[in-house]
């Protein structure tokens, strides 16, 4: 690591300072990325730096984030350092998160039901159960509540069951002008078929190279 190289090459005060800044930056990034609090010892060992130096820099980071203009804090928790939002802003952050337009969330059961309605509409609850091969249509209520489907009269068979269809909101949510824009099953199968014709191509991947396949789940990308 170039940090240690720097230390050997130029022991001048300004070099020491810029090296401190770099080390501090690395510590900040490390504290941010780890879910489990890491101790100063662990970080010192991994970065091959004296523990005192690491401790001093961590103290500086803690002090920096303690300033009121920061909404994050770095705290010593369970023998390690952890980054988190400051509790005094939780109410504001919570209110903020609540206001975010929630993405369209659907359970698999709801998505399946919606898919069946989209492609088979107008369709009755018993027909949906028949197609899905699953008893119970509780998710219909979820879809009705979300205004993704609506009632469309009754089917003229025994019992006159309610028919369901998709709504305008459904079109909006899926970015469709009208129902004819729904991809057909044929088109979908075409994609799958062509994929067999042109396989996943394991070789050569980009980036090829001996890069270790490591990245966090939370990798920004």
């Amino acid at each position: 690591m170039d940090v240690t190289q720097l230390a050997e090459e130029r022991p001048s005060a300004s070099a020491e300072q810029s090296e401190d800044a770099q080390l501090k930056a690395i510590l900040e990034a490390v504290v941010y990325i780890t879910d489990e609090p890491l101790s100063a010892q662990q970080m010192a060992a991994a970065l091959q730096q004296p523990i005192d130096r690491i401790k001093r820099l961590l103290d500086e980071i803690v002090a920096e984030f303690a300033k009121p203009e920061h909404g994050l804090s770095v705290r010593e928790v369970a023998g390690g350092y952890k980054m988190a939002t400051k509790p005094e802003h939780h109410e504001a952050v919570r209110a903020f998160v609540k206001k975010l337009t929630p993405p369209l969330k659907l359970s698999l059961a709801a998505l399946e039901t919606l898919a069946v309605i989209a492609y088979k509409q107008p369709v009755t609850a018993p027909e949906i159960m028949e197609i899905r091969g699953v008893q119970g249509v509780g998710v219909l209520k979820t879809l009705l509540d979300r205004k993704l489907i609506s009632e469309a009269g009754r089917k003229n068979v025994v019992g006159k069951p309610i028919l369901y269809k998709t709504t305008k909101e459904f079109l909006v949510q899926f970015g469709l002008k009208d129902l004819t824009e729904l991809p057909t099953l044929k088109e979908f199968e075409e994609l799958g078929r062509l994929e067999i014709a042109e396989p996943e191509m394991p070789e050569p991947e980009v980036p090829a190279s001996g890069a270790p396949p490591e990245a966090s789940e939370t990798q920004n990308g």
């Binding site: 941010y32 990325i33 879910d35 988190a84 939002t85 939780h90 952050v93 919570r94 998160v97 609540k98 929630p102 993405p103 369209l104 969330k105 659907l106 698999l108 998505l111 399946e112 919606l114 898919a115 069946v116 989209a118 492609y119 009755t124 609850a125 018993p126 159960m129 028949e130 197609i131 899905r132 091969g133 008893q135 068979v157 025994v158 019992g159 069951p161 899926f174 970015g175 469709l176 729904l182 991809p183 099953l185 979908f188 199968e189 980009v206 980036p207 990245a215 966090s216 939370t218 990798q219 920004n220 990308g221």
Partner: protein, 262 residues
Amino acid sequence: MSAPLNFHLEHYDGPLDLLLDLIRKQEIDIYNIPIAQITGQYLDYMNRAAEMDIELSAEFIFMAATLIHIKSKLLLPRDPALAELIPEEDPRKELVDRLLEHERFKSAAEMLHQKRVVEEAVWSNPQIEQFMAGEGMEPGLAVSLFDLVKTFQGVLERIKTRPTYEINKEDVSVPDMIRYLHHVFEDGPKGESVAARELFERQKSRRAMICLFLAMLELVKIQALGLVQQEGFGEIGLKRLKGFETAFTSGEQLAAIDEGYN
């Protein structure tokens, strides 16, 4: 025509890729392509691929035809008088334009790749899930149109592999329907009733409905199922009773019913 090139018979992603590679590796001016030379090298590649049993797609053959066509057009003399009236376009122009466009997208792909290299070197650690869990809120999952059609496809695939109960056939019988009801109530919620209407609606034929009706009566008679009605003139439901399990485990009563319908 022998190419002094050392292609190690790379696998090209289409004829445009191959042509571009030939041009760029030999540092040929793309605006003045020696068509005869390039056509020769192109065909040479195709022959070698064939020798090595590398299957080339139809576009490669189509491009070969295009190259030969351009070559012959360049060979044919033109009426100089006509050429003055209508200046003829270079027959290579269309191909050159396509090659240049293709090359631009190859560069764009390289640019995207480099952006990914940078992005793969950074990590983000959003804490929203942890935050929402701490605050008792629920995170969600966004859904796209593609997910929708994929899901529907999945449902249809499942139908194919699902064990079928022979209730669509015309020769459906009362014992068939008893087995069908067993299936419905076996997995179903214990205390809840199922609307009889729903069960009838699922039947495809009149005969199936009649058999289902008789099957219901039989099971009610042996106390395997009970009829429920929440309110006067309300919907009639069927409910699993205590006798359900014994009826289907011992099988004696059912055998007797089967006998009766044979």
